[in-house]
C-alpha cells in the first residue's frame, strides 16, 4: 500500500516531519519499504500568460504563441493546441524539464521555427481538466507561480508492507492516521458523517450470510464534470489512475476510509437489484475487459435480467458509469470476507475492492461512505438531487472484550498502570464500555487480551518493554540420543577425511535412472513441483551425491570424499514417511602428487566402515556378495547387516559405466540406513599394555584362486592360539603360479617372552590347516 503524507495530514494536521512519521510507522508495525519525495517533476513548470497568437507561416494546424513569463520575459513557442488565446493563463515548461512520461524537453524546430519549451495540457501534467487542449488556468496566482506550489508543494509517499492483521483494518489513510495520531498524542479528525438511508425497496439480498449489509443510494448529477484537483493530486500521489469523476470519487473514498463503493449507471440497470449467488456457467463481462464464467460459489450483484457485477470484486462493463451518466446508483455494502477472498483467488482478480473486502471492512462504513460521496458531489457542484435509497441488514452492535489490565501486564512483562493501558487503547479508538473494552467497528482483528496487549505494546513501542530472563533451572538441556548419535557419525566421518554435503530432498525419475537405479513405486511425488528435475522426494541420497561429484569434477579434476546423513522418503511405512540414510562416496583415481601419488583405494572406504562400526558401536557386520543392487560392481560388493541379520546397505563400487556419467572412472560408494535407535550398550574393555616383546614372522604363501583372505583369517582363529595377535596382508603379487600373498603374523604373550619354538609350533599348525585349502609356502 502507498500512503501519502499530505493525505494523512487531512486527518492529523499537526503531523510531524515525514522522517518522524516513518519511524513511528515502523514502531507501530507498518513496514516502511520506501519513503520517497513526490512531485519533483512539477517544480520547473510555471504559470504564464499568452500575449499573442499567430498562425505558423508554414503549417496550417500550428500556431506561434507568445507568452509572458515572470519579470515580463517573453517566449514564443510553436503549439498545435486549438485553445489558448491572448489573455489566457497556461502552464509552460522550459527546455530541460523532465515530463511525467520521462521525456526531457528540448528546443525543437517545427517547420523552420524554433520552439523553446512547451505549453502543457492537463494530461501532459498528469491530470484531468475536461475537454480542452491547453490547460487554461483560472486561478489567481501570480505569473511565474510553479505548478508544484499549486499542488501544495512536495509530498512524501511511503510504500508500506502490511502484515495480514494490519491489512484487516489498515488499508486506508483514516486508519493509518489514527495510529499515528495515537502514538504521537496528536488530535485526530475522524471526518465521518452518516448517510440517512431511505426506505425505498430497491434491492433484495438473497444470500444474507454472504452480504449481511447492503446499501443503495441514487444520486442525480450533472454530466461532464471534472474531479476536483485536490482529489486528483491525492490519488495521483498514491499511484492511482484517474478515470472519471464518479469512479475517482469511489476510489478516493476507498483509500480515504477503506470502504469500496461501486457506482452503477442507474439507466443501465433493469429493475430491482438482487444480491445472489451466480448460476453455474453464468457469464459476466468485467470492467477489465474479460469474460468471466461464474459458478455458484461466486456472489453477484444482478438486476432482473443479468449479473451486473462480481460482488465486492469487480463491476461489469454493461452497467458501468461514463461521462454521460446522470443517475448514479451507489452501492455501499458489507460482505463476508472469506467469500470475497475466495472469489478473488478463484478468478485471480486482485482489484483494490477485493483486496479490501477480502480482508474485512468496517460495517459502519456502509453508512458513512455514501455520506462522504454525497458531500464530494456537492462540493463539486454537480449534485442535483438525492434519489431513493435503502439499506438492507443492520449495523452490528459494537463488540466488547473484557478489560484485563493484569493479564496485559503479565503477557508483556511490564508494570504499566491500568490508566496508562486504558489511555493507550482510547487513543487507538477503543473505549471503556459497560462490560469491558469496546472495539472499534473496523478492528475485526481484535479478539481478546493478547490482542489488546499487542495494541498497547505497538502504541508505546516494544522498546518500552524492559528485557528480562525467565528463571532457568540449573540442569542443562538435553539433545536427543538419536540425534547425538548421528552427530557422532558426522564428526567421525569428518575426522576420517570426508566432507559433509547437504543436497536437496527433491529428485526425479530420470535422475534416479541416470544413477542406474529403478524408481520404486513407493516414492512420494510432489503434486506441485517447482521444476521437472524435482518432481519427487528422494528415495535414496545416491543420485544427488553422484551429481555432486559430477558438478565438482565438471570444471576440475579433483578427488572427492563426500558424505551426507539425511532423510530419504518412502510411502512404504505408514505414519512416518522418512528414515535417515548415510551415503559416502569417494572417487577412486590416483592423482599425481610429489613426493608420492595420492591413490585412494576401495579398501580405504571399507576401512572407514570398519572403523566407524567400532567407533560408533554400530553393531554391523558385512559379507562379500556376488550380486546386489544393479548399479553396483558385482565383483567388489559387500552387503552390510544389522544385528538382526537384515541388510541395511551396501559398500562397493558403482559400475564404471555409470561412474563415467558423473565424470569419474571409478567411484566407491557406501550407503546404508541409520537406525533410529542406536541401542548399543558397549562395555568398555581396556587391557593393560603388553610387557613382553612381540615376535614378527612374515609368511609368503601361494594362495589358489577363490580362497579369500576371510578364509585364511578364520583358520588363524581356529587355532585358538593365545599368542597369535594378528595376521595382516603386507604384500601381494600375481604370477604364473597364482596369487602370492605375504602375511605378517605377530605373536605376543601377556606373561612371558616367547621362545622360537612356541612361535614355530603355531606357524606349523597354521600351515597344516591352510594346506587343506591348497595353500603352499612360496619357495
Amino acid at each position: 500500500m502507498i500512503a501519502s503524507y499530505r493525505w494523512l495530514q487531512r486527518f492529523v494536521p499537526e503531523l510531524p516531519s515525514p522522517d518522524v512519521v516513518g519511524e513511528k510507522l515502523t514502531q507501530l508495525g507498518w513496514e516502511v519499504v520506501s519513503k520517497k519525495p513526490w512531485g519533483l517533476w512539477y517544480e520547473p513548470v510555471e504559470l504564464v500568460e499568452i500575449t499573442k497568437r499567430v498562425k505558423h507561416p508554414h503549417a496550417d494546424h500550428l500556431s506561434l504563441i507568445t507568452v509572458r513569463r515572470r519579470d515580463n520575459v517573453l517566449t514564443t513557442v510553436v503549439s498545435g493546441a486549438s485553445n489558448g488565446f491572448a489573455g489566457d493563463r497556461v502552464w509552460y515548461a522550459q527546455p530541460g524539464t523532465r515530463l511525467i512520461d520521462g521525456r526531457i524537453l528540448e528546443t525543437v524546430t517545427m517547420r523552420g521555427i524554433d520552439s523553446p519549451g512547451m505549453l502543457l495540457s492537463a494530461h501532459e501534467l498528469g491530470f484531468e481538466a475536461g475537454p480542452q487542449d491547453l490547460w487554461i488556468w483560472d486561478g489567481d496566482q501570480p505569473l511565474g507561480t510553479h505548478f508544484l506550489d499549486v499542488l501544495g508543494g512536495m509530498d512524501t509517499v511511503f510504500e508500506l508492507e502490511l502484515t495480514p492483521n494490519l491489512a484487516i483494518f489498515g488499508q486506508n489513510m483514516r486508519a493509518l492516521s489514527r495510529e499515528l495520531a495515537a502514538s504521537l498524542s496528536l488530535p485526530w479528525n475522524s471526518r465521518s458523517t452518516e448517510f440517512s438511508y431511505g426506505r425505498v425497496p430497491m434491492a433484495n439480498v438473497i444470500d444474507a450470510q454472504a452480504c449481511p449489509i447492503y446499501g443503495l443510494a441514487e444520486f442525480r448529477i450533472k454530466p461532464d464534470a471534472v474531479t476536483p484537483l485536490w482529489i486528483q493530486i491525492l490519488l495521483k500521489s498514491i499511484g492511482q489512475r484517474l478515470i472519471h469523476p464518479a469512479v475517482d470519487l469511489t476510489n478516493f473514498v476507498l483509500w480515504d476510509i477503506g470502504q469500496p463503493l461501486h457506482a452503477f449507471d442507474a439507466d443501465k440497470v433493469d429493475g430491482k437489484i438482487e444480491v445472489r449467488n451466480a448460476v453455474d456457467g453464468e457469464v459476466l463481462a468485467t470492467l477489465d475487459g474479460s469474460e468471466r464464467t461464474l459458478s455458484s460459489y461466486d456472489l453477484v450483484i444482478a438486476d432482473q435480467n443479468r449479473a451486473l457485477a462480481l460482488a465486492g470484486v469487480m463491476g461489469g462493463s454493461g452497467s458501468a458509469v461514463s461521462l454521460e451518466t446522470t443517475r448514479i446508483l451507489l452501492e455501499s455494502a458489507h460482505f463476508d470476507a472469506q467469500r470475497i477472498f475466495q472469489t478473488m483467488r478463484r478468478h485471480q482478480i486482485y482489484s483494490d475492492a477485493a483486496l479490501h473486502f477480502g480482508k474485512g471492512t468496517d460495517p459502519h462504513a456502509v453508512v458513512t461512505a455514501p455520506a462522504q460521496y454525497q458531500n464530494l458531489l456537492a462540493e463539486m457542484g454537480i449534485l442535483e438531487e438525492i434519489g431513493p435509497s435503502q439499506m438492507i441488514g443492520i449495523i452490528p452492535p459494537s463488540r466488547q472484550v473484557p478489560f484485563n489490565p493484569q493479564g496485559i501486564r503479565q503477557l508483556l512483562g511490564v508494570g504499566w498502570s491500568d490508566e496508562r493501558i486504558l489511555d493507550g487503547l482510547e487513543r487507538l479508538g477503543f473505549e471503556k464500555g459497560e462490560t469491558g473494552i469496546v472495539i472499534p467497528s473496523d478492528r475485526h482483528d481484535v479478539e481478546g487480551t493478547p490482542d489488546l496487549a499487542e495494541e498497547v505494546a505497538r502504541l508505546y513501542g516494544l522498546d518500552e518493554i524492559e528485557p528480562r530472563m525467565f528463571v532457568v533451572s540449573a540442569s542443562p538441556g538435553r539433545p536427543s540420543t538419536r540425534v547425538s548419535y548421528q552427530e557422532l557419525i558426522r564428526n567421525s566421518l569428518a575426522a576420517a577425511g570426508y566432507w559433509e554435503v547437504i543436497t536437496r530432498s527433491f529428485t526425479s525419475p530420470s535422475r534416479i535412472q541416470r544413477a542406474g537405479m529403478r524408481p520404486s513405486p513407493d516414492v512420494i511425488n510432489v503434486v506441485n513441483p517447482l521444476r521437472d528435475e524435482e518432481t519427487l522426494l528422494r528415495p535414496s541420497l545416491l543420485p544427488g551425491m553422484l551429481e555432486t561429484l559430477e558438478s565438482n569434477r565438471a570444471r576440475r579434476d579433483i578427488s572427492l570424499s563426500l558424505f551426507e546423513l539425511a532423510p530419504v522418503y518412502t510411502r512404504e511405512t505408514p505414519d512416518f514417511w522418512q528414515y535417515d540414510e548415510l551415503t559416502v562416496v569417494r572417487t577412486l583415481e590416483a592423482r599425481k602428487r610429489y613426493p608420492r601419488p595420492d591413490s585412494p583405494h576401495l579398501l580405504e572406504l571399507k576401512g572407514t566402515l570398519e572403523w566407524l562400526n567400532q567407533k560408533c558401536g554400530m553393531g554391523l557386520s558385512w559379507k562379500q556378495v556376488p550380486s546386489g543392487p544393479e548399479f553396483m560392481h558385482p565383483g567388489r560388493l559387500l552387503a552390510i547387516y544389522r544385528r538382526d541379520g537384515s541388510v541395511v546397505g551396501y559398500l562397493g563400487e558403482v559400475r564404471p559405466r555409470i561412474a563415467q556419467r558423473y565424470h569419474a572412472k571409478r567411484i566407491g560408494v557406501w550407503f546404508m540406513r541409520i537406525s533410529d535407535d542406536p541401542g548399543v550398550e558397549i562395555a568398555s574393555r581396556i587391557r593393560r599394555p603388553m610387557r613382553y616383546p612381540e615376535v614378527v614372522r612374515d609368511l609368503s604363501l601361494i594362495v589358489p584362486q577363490g580362497v579369500s583372505y576371510q578364509t585364511i583369517w578364520e583358520i588363524s582363529h581356529q587355532l585358538q592360539s593365545s599368542i597369535l595377535q594378528s595376521l595382516t596382508p603386507i604384500d601381494h603379487y600375481r604370477g604364473d603360479f597364482g596369487h602370492s600373498w605375504t602375511f605378517r603374523l605377530v605373536f605376543q604373550s601377556e606373561d612371558k617372552t616367547l621362545t622360537d619354538e612356541e612361535v614355530e609350533r603355531v606357524i606349523q599348525q597354521f600351515l597344516q590347516l591352510t594346506q587343506d585349502l591348497g595353500v603352499t609356502m612360496r619357495q
Partner: protein, 351 residues
Amino acid sequence: MDAQRLDSWKDEMTREVMKAESLTELQTVRHQWLGRKGKITNAMKGLSSLSIEDRRTVGQQLNGIREYALDLFAQREQEMELQEETRQLQEEVYDMTLPGLWPDVGLLHPITRTRRLIEDVFLRMGFSLEYGPEVEDEWYNFEALNIPADHPARDMQDSFFIDLPGMVLRTHTSPVQIRAMKKYDGALPVRILAPGRAFRRDDDATHVPMFFQVEALVIDRGISLADLKGTLNIMAHELLGDGIKTRFRPSYFPFTEPSMEMDVTCASCRGAGCRVCKETGWVEILGSGMVHPQVLKNGGYDPLTVSGFAFGLGIERLTMRIFGIDDLRLLYQNDMEFLSQFQPYTGRPGL
C-alpha cells in the same frame, strides 16, 4: 722435573688440541700426551725416581694434569664428532620450500556448524532438542498453528503438496511446537528447540525450496514478552557478538499474539545505512511472539494459567551473516572449492 714446567704443560696441551683439525689429528695429540709413551705417562713413570716428599707433590700435580687432559680430549672429541655429523647431514639437504602435504581432513557443512552453534547456546539455557517429521500432517502444519484455510501459506503457490492425502512438506519447523506440547502432555516448563528442514516453493538469491530453521518454544507460568526479548538479546549476543544491537518491531504470525520481529545491526554498514539494509541500518533476523491462546489449547495447555513464547530462525540467514555470504544458493551447490573456504578459524572456537 720442576713444578713450573709441569704447569706450562696445560697451556701447551690446550694449544695443541685446538690446533688439531680432525679426529685423527686429535688422536695423535692425545697419544703424545696420554699414550703409553706420552709425556704424562712418562712423567708418571718417572715419579719413582723422586724423593718421597717430591713424589707426593709432583704426583698430585701430575694427577691434576692428567684429569685436565682427559676432560680436554673428551670435550674436544665430542665437539668434533658433532661437527662431522653436521657436515654429513648438510649433504642430505632437502628443499623445505616445497609445499607440505596437508592432512586429509574432512569438514562439516557450514549449515551443520551454524545449527550446532545455535543448539549449543540454547542447550546452555536449559532447552532440549525436539524433532518432527518433514512430511507433515496438514493439521500440525496449519490448523493447529491457527493458520486458516484461506491463508496464502496454504496455497499451491507457497507450499509443496505431495501425493499423500492430508500431508504437506512442512513449510516451517513450527509444527514441532504442537508435537512437543503433546509430548510434554501438560508438564511444565516446556523449553524446547527444534532444528530441521522446511520447504517452500521459492527459489532465488535469498530463498531456496529446502532450507533449515530452528524453532524455539517456552511455556511456563508467567512467561512474558519481556522474557522473549531477554532471551532473544542473549541469543543475538551469543551468536553475533557483544557489539550487536537489536531492535524489535510488531509483526504478525497466525500462531503468536502479540508477534514481533527482531532486527540486528546491518553487517555491511554496521548500522550506518546501506543498500543491503535499504538504508535503515537494520536487517531482519527472526520472527517471534507470545504463543496464541488457541495454539496453547491445541497443544493441550490452558492459556488461562500458562503462557509462552516462540520464535523461528532461518539457519541459512545466520550462516550467511556469520560467514559473510550474499547468495543463499551457494550453500547448497556443494562446490568443494567454495566449501573449503569454511575451514579457517573464524575466531569462534564453537563454530
